[in-house]
């Protein structure tokens, strides 16, 4: 995935409420959010977290160095995209059909938000950053409260597919592992991956 660092930093500088995540987010962008190995994710997050504890200017200064260190042990982003992500692309595709039937009338056909909130793009990213919501919490909310006109009416598998679709539309990597209730706790929503929509 292309890394638009200048845009990223510009975006982060305007996001005053999330300044401590600037370093962490930047590192993630620099190594490529296409990284799909859970362990790699954890390592990156560890580095990112340590960076985020630094004062703001110092974090910026160390970004390139940290990024290089972070990337070295892993494969290139293009290869990572085919790795093991948080859901399978088949789940995401199946989730799109369910979303179009049950969710799009409120959230928009492109998840951009209408009567219901946006589920992709900058607005969704801001919402995640505000709420610090985990994937398990997001799944819990969706499966209990949605669709608004008939909450709880989908099957567990259908809700998981819808969540997979939401993840895919926000640039979270797909992979070989099916998203399940057991793997929800391993899905990392923040830092937000910064899809092309988010960088508009």
């Amino acid at each position: 995935m292309r890394c638009d660092r200048a845009n990223l930093l510009r975006q982060n500088r305007t996001d005053h409420s999330n300044r401590n995540t600037v370093g962490a987010r930047a590192v993630n962008y620099l190594i490529g959010m296409a990284s799909t190995n859970i362990h790699a994710h954890a390592a990156v997050r560890s580095i990112a977290t340590s960076v985020s504890k630094q004062p703001f200017p110092r974090r910026l200064v160390c970004l390139p160095f940290c990024a290089v260190i972070a990337v070295l042990p892993f494969t290139v982003p293009g290869a990572l995209a085919a790795g093991t992500g948080d859901y399978t692309s088949a789940q995401g595709m199946a989730g799109q059909k369910i979303f179009n039937q049950s969710c799009s009338s409120c959230h928009g056909s492109d998840l951009q938000g209408q009567a219901g909130p946006a589920l992709a793009g900058p607005a969704f990213a801001k919402s995640l950053q505000f709420s610090k919501m985990s994937a398990s919490q997001l799944y819990g909310f969706i499966s209990k409260q949605m669709p608004a006109d008939d909450p709880g009416s989908l099957t567990e598998d259908q809700y998981l597919r819808v969540l997979a679709y939401i993840l895919s539309k926000n640039g979270y990597p797909s992979g070989q592992t099916r998203l399940s209730k057991d793997t929800l706790s391993q899905v990392v929503l923040l830092p937000y991956p910064g899809s092309s929509q988010a960088r508009k």
């Binding site: 607005a123 919402s127 008939d150 909450p151 709880g152």
Partner: protein, 605 residues
């Protein structure tokens, strides 16, 4: 307040809307209806507020709207100056040119197409021949538009680019308020705008609350004594509601009253205990009181974490207008776990107490299904009405894991819908609904900032579930229902009463109805293609009385969407002979509709 969309097909809705629109055009072509074509292009968003190519209202039009004008709005029959026409929120126009004798001749005078198709709840204002209206939010834009109130011709429009918005109940806005040469608009992303009434340009803008947390604004602000007064929407999020007053000239906050009482909530639950104020307050100018309805506690449907009465949720509340301090309150539902808000506009009128004395009163049509009337001096209950909707034996039972089927459902009763009142009948006219809902506890009370926290679920009962509406004339002196119209669908939108002994309300299937205010007989109807789910108004321009109403459907009940504001009037050349020869009433089948009106013998003390 929370919506529960119906499960009917959207595509069906669209077909109905299109079909209805075609029908309108066919019916109105002979009547020289001005159908203004909406602009097909959206403006480029270069600013939060843009007014490209705006024209000004005629220089002869008075847009100042002084405090004196607002205080005496009751005595100005021509204009619809305030949200509820005057500070009483009675929505009573004394105009009588259109009356029970000639209502059959009422025809469309103009059909304004705003170009913004979505759930439409606006109450337009009409000031000196100029109509000011807000649209719903479509693609994150909302418009504020000025029209010629007689022809429907657009004078200016301003587009507001909406930022973050989190809405429970559709992309709605209920209208502008006017004062001191400005228009005031509360936006869905929780900002307050002041626009120049002449041309729609921005005067100032201030933030009311954090929309990311779940705060929003759907109400029309109230203007009083140099202040712009707003409540807060967002009762389904873990928030604390409030009412705040802002300096009308500068936008600086004057005072703020928070709507949850720590002494009546367990622990710290008052900090996110809900209590939103969704609808425009009434003003008791004699007593200097702002009187309004406060919505549900949060979590909506699970009270375990907020034990106590949870004041001032589900209450009628009066504040001192100068200070924002609490004057009195009356709580309709203690410790609510059914989303039984007090949410419709509070209305002021005089009533009789049990001893026959005239008492200044405030009334509110609750989602819980009664009309509550309290003493305006102290907030004490004078009476509550007969139920105006169905109530079943499960009412007030707590939601369970297996689910409980309850009437009224979580939409009421009476939703945000403002009723009307006629001093000629002493009746309040209340549109409401019967929706049998299953309440199921699911333990979802976890607090995630910026995320809905309902605590349970409710859903329309499928297969043989109750889904209908009522339009009730509730006598304020007795609490009895003088007459009631049974509608085939839940009613949401609003009512208008006029000096012509008429009351108007709309239905979700596109019908706009007029009733004899005294008898409940349906005397006229017109189908606008989209749901008529907004409050009607009446005004006069150049000696001609108009009835206007928005027809854009409703998100909460999934009624067919549209984008129109319809203006009705008697034909300009109307004579008694003409009216009798050209009687639209003949094309409608009244046999079935009249049979839906239940005549109730009026009881007096």
């Amino acid at each position: 307040m929370l919506y529960k969309p119906s499960t009917s097909s959207r595509s069906t809705s669209r077909r109905l809307a299109i079909g209805g629109a075609v029908a309108i055009l066919m019916c109105t072509s002979a009547q020289s209806v001005l159908a203004q074509t909406a602009s097909s292009t959206e403006e480029q968003a270069s600013d939060l507020v843009s007014s490209p190519g705006s024209k000004s209202v005629p220089s002869s039009a008075n847009v100042d709207v002084s405090d004196q004008a607002m205080r005496s709005a009751t005595d100005d029959p021509k204009d619809w100056l305030l949200h509820g026409r005057d500070y009483s929120n009675q929505r009573y126009s004394p105009l009588s040119q259109i009356n029970t004798h000639n209502i059959g001749s009422l025809v469309p005078a103009a059909l304004i197409q705003t170009g913004m198709t979505a759930s439409f709840e606006t109450t337009p204002l009409v000031i000196d021949g100029v109509m000011y209206a807000t649209t719903p939010i479509v693609n994150n834009k909302m418009k504020i538009i000025a029209y010629n109130a007689a022809t429907g011709a657009r004078i200016w429009e301003t587009t507001y680019d909406v930022g973050t918005q989190k809405l429970c109940c559709g992309p709605v806005n209920r209208g502008v308020s006017a004062g001191y040469g400005n228009l005031y608009v509360a936006t869905s992303d929780a900002n307050l705008l002041a626009l120049n009434a002449k041309d729609g340009t921005k005067v100032w803008q201030t933030n009311i609350a954090d929309p990311q947390a779940g705060y929003s604004e759907t109400m029309t602000p109230q203007i009083y004594d140099g202040m712009v007064i707003v409540g807060s929407s967002g009762g389904e999020w873990p928030l604390r509601g409030f009412v705040a007053a802002y300096d009308a000239k500068t936008g600086k906050q004057v005072w703020r009253w928070d709507s949850t009482d720590p002494n009546t909530f367990e622990g710290d639950s008052w900090k996110t205990g809900g209590g939103m104020v969704w609808t425009t307050p009434a003003i008791d100018t004699k007593r200097g009181l702002i009187i309004f309805a406060v919505g549900n506690p949060n979590p909506d449907l699970d009270g375990e974490s907020r034990k106590g009465d949870n004041l001032y949720t589900d209450s009628i509340v009066a504040l001192d207008a100068k200070t924002g301090k609490l004057a009195w309150h009356y709580q309709e539902v203690k410790h609510d776990v059914w989303d039984y808000d007090a949410v419709s506009n509070v209305m002021l009128f005089d009533t009789k107490d049990d001893k026959g004395n005239t008492v200044p009163a405030a009334g509110e049509a609750g989602k819980v299904g009664w009309y509550f009337i309290v003493n305006r001096e102290n907030g004490k209950l004078i009476r509550k009405s007969e139920p105006f909707v169905k109530m079943n034996s499960n009412m007030f039972k707590a939601p369970t894991k297996d689910g409980v089927d309850i009437l009224p459902g979580a939409n009421g009763g009476a939703e945000w819908t403002p009723p009307a009142y006629s001093p000629k009948t002493d009746d309040v006219y209340v549109p409401a609904m019967d929706q049998l809902m299953k309440f199921t506890s699911d333990g979802s009370t976890e607090t995630v900032p910026g995320t809905m926290r309902l605590g349970s679920t409710f859903v329309n009962v499928k297969n043989n579930g109750v889904q209908d509406g009522t339009f009730s004339a509730v006598n304020v002196d007795t609490g009895k229902i003088d007459w009631q119209y049974k509608a085939p669908q839940p009613l949401i939108g609003g009512a208008l009463a006029t000096g012509g002994d008429l009351v108007f309300t709309g239905e979700g299937d596109g019908w706009f109805d007029a009733f004899n205010a005294k008898t409940g007989q349906k005397v006229w109807r017109y189908n606008l293609g989209a749901g008529v789910n907004a409050p009607p108004i009446s005004y006069e321009v150049n000696g001609r009385q108009y009835i206007a109403v928005a027809a854009g459907g409703n998100f909460q009940l999934n009624y067919p969407r549209g984008d129109a504001i319809a203006l009705f009037a008697l034909p300009e050349e109307t004579t008694a002979k003409h009216a009798s020869n050209w009687n639209w009433r003949k094309i409608f089948d009244f046999a079935s509709s009249q049979s839906n009106t239940k005549q109730v013998k009026r009881v007096t003390n």
